[in-house]
């Protein structure tokens, strides 16, 4: 269950990160403003509060999510907001000359983004995305508080059934999370190295 939530919310988070990140550098002030409000709203409040709000408060407006969907939406939107800052940071870090060169080559705005800016910016985003996915994994443990049976919740159930299991249960749980995080850490490092290949130190 933890992995399911992790994957589903990671997909949502990265999609949201790109949309919001591009929105923050949009030509249209309205889009910039709207995405900025979204990002600040989600970065300014706690993930757990957002999770509770989506699960407990939204039904008041007639929008009832299942616990799973609420978790994925909360995690996706929260980390999407953090991710969008990474996307935005990477895009504005691309030297202006690149934009000017693409204009000189008569590229459309879309071509410029897709062919010139993003490929270079993407390399800069990788370390940040690696960190975000680990943060996301850590965030998934919170869903146990809205009674979704993820790893943490299962641990609590076992611990409740027999109090003498307390110590081994939580030690196992900690190592289990670390084990899930390990491939993410290694993958993030590898990607970072690979994308740095063949590029002069930026």
């Amino acid at each position: 269950m933890t992995i399911e939530i992790l994957l589903a919310s990671a997909v949502l988070a990265f999609a949201v990160a790109f949309i919001a990140g591009l929105g923050r550098v949009s030509r249209f002030a309205v889009i910039r403003r709207v995405t900025a409000v979204y990002v600040e709203l989600f970065r300014g409040t706690s993930l757990l509060v957002q999770l509770f709000w989506i699960f407990f408060a939204l039904p008041a407006f007639g929008i009832q999510f299942s616990a799973f969907l609420a978790s994925v939406v909360a995690l996706g939107l929260n980390y999407g907001a953090y991710g969008s800052e990474i996307v935005r940071g990477a895009i504005i870090a691309i030297p202006k000359g690149q934009t000017e060169a693409s204009i000189a080559l008569n590229m459309t705005n879309f071509q410029r983004m897709r062919l010139v800016i993003l490929p270079q910016a993407f390399r800069m985003m990788l370390p940040g995305f690696g960190n975000i996915s680990i943060e996301l994994l850590k965030g998934t443990s919170l869903v146990s508080l809205i009674t979704l049976t993820d790893m943490t919740y299962k641990g609590l159930i076992i611990q409740n059934s027999n109090i003498s299991y307390t110590m081994p249960v939580f030690v196992t749980l900690l190592f289990a999370y670390f084990l899930v995080a390990l491939p993410l850490i290694i993958l993030a490092r590898k990607l970072e190295k690979r994308s740095a290949k063949g590029v002069a130190n930026a």
Binding site: T45, A57, G89, I132, T166, F170, V171, L173, L174, I185
Partner: protein, 236 residues
Amino acid sequence: MSWDWNFAIEVFPEILGAIWLVIAITFGSFIVALILGLVLTFARRSSFKPLSLLVYAFIEFVRSTPPLVQLFFVYFALPAIGISINKYTAGIVTLGIHYSTYVSEVYRSGIEAIPKGQWEAAKAMNFSKTQTWFRIILPQAIPPVIPMLGNYLIVLFKETPILMAIGVGEFLQKAQLIGSTHFKYLEPITIVGLLFLLLSYPSALLINRLEQKSNQAFTGKKNRRLTNQFHLKSGA
């Protein structure tokens, strides 16, 4: 059902009442993080290899496991081996330890930005190790990273709601209790969200300004690199 102003106004003071507890926990754990972070930084740089490797493993482990599970470990599992602490201490200790690993990374980036010449000069002046650290290195390494530390203070503040899991009566726990007694969750939880926004957004702006000021004060290539590093690392 929609937003009920009377109910919101009625429950607002009750939720706001938790503010001192939240502030106490935030600053308490931040102090733990600042001190322990420094200890971890020193241990990580120790020339005694096993210690530095052990600390490295500890930092990676703590950073990549959920604070919620760590909280359960401290509060539920430690009493099993005879270390029993109350829920407030457990919360402060857990958050403090968790963020000390982040803080130590911040210190590290600050220390690594100090030019080698400073170390050499200290050696040439026959400074002892302690003198070098406390009179030469740290006074130069810490001020540029203060804005980053401030950022982690805000992150830590936003992490306090997880303490509701062990029954610490902070904002969200209060809201949850009110919600379950009145069967109305919308108002209390929205108030909590607004409180967090109201407290963290202005502080974030303040720290942003501080960061710009300190960038002006500590201009130089190394400092720019330092802030870049931070932007990539600040996923939390």
